[in-house]
């Protein structure tokens, strides 16, 4: 016998007043509402400053 979990959801009032966001990025979600399923993935690779060869902006020049 295939047993399933039973879930009962009661949705009452959903009222949103004022929202301020700079950015929603890299597989992120901003949801006002109802949802069943999410699968979100993000890969981000950036070099640490310490590994950079030399400085980006030359601070002084010998010649």
């Amino acid at each position: 016998m295939n047993r399933k979990m039973k879930m009962e959801v009661h949705n009452w009032d959903l009222n949103v007043g004022n929202v301020e966001i700079t950015t929603v990025t890299a597989s992120s979600v901003f949801l006002i509402g109802d949802n069943d399923e999410f699968a979100l993935s993000s890969f981000f690779d950036t070099p640490p400053e310490a590994a950079a060869l030399g400085s980006i902006v030359p601070l002084a020049s010998s010649s």
């Binding site: 979990m5 039973k6 009661h10 949705n11 007043g17 890299a26 006002i32 399923e37 699968a39 993935s41």
Partner: protein, 124 residues
């Protein structure tokens, strides 16, 4: 979800929607968005084809994702006591890189974003 709720939005201000970003008011059955990007900082102002920048050269774009196995042996029953989702004021500067902003009902959402950022020096 047997019944869907009504989405009611008052004022939304959105500055930018880029690289598979999604903005939706209302009902969504299934969303799938992917975004791949290489952010290159290099000396000089010109980016040419002979710079040879390819996604396949970086393992980040071929790596397996570690997503959970989607098995849902759940029988869900939703009872709506209020039939409206209401939003007054939203202010967003940007939605980018497979991101999603939704007001309303969403059944399934799948997003994938891969960004490789590096610097390249013309002489070391």
């Amino acid at each position: 979800m047997k019944e869907k709720r009504i989405a009611s939005a008052g004022y939304v201000s959105l500055g930018g929607l880029t690289f598979s970003g999604i903005f939706n008011i209302g009902d969504t059955k299934h969303i799938q968005s992917t975004s791949k990007g290489i952010a290159l900082q290099k000396e000089g102002a010109r980016f040419k084809a002979e710079n040879n920048i390819n996604f396949n050269d970086y393992s980040l774009f071929n790596r397996e994702m570690n997503l959970p196995e989607i098995v849902t042996p759940v029988q869900k029953e939703t009872i709506h006591h209020s039939d409206t989702i209401s939003v007054n004021n939203i202010d967003i500067i940007g939605i980018s890189e497979a991101a999603l902003f939704q007001i309303g009902n969403l059944e399934k959402s799948y997003s994938e974003s891969r960004i490789k950022h590096f610097r390249r020096y013309s002489s070391v």
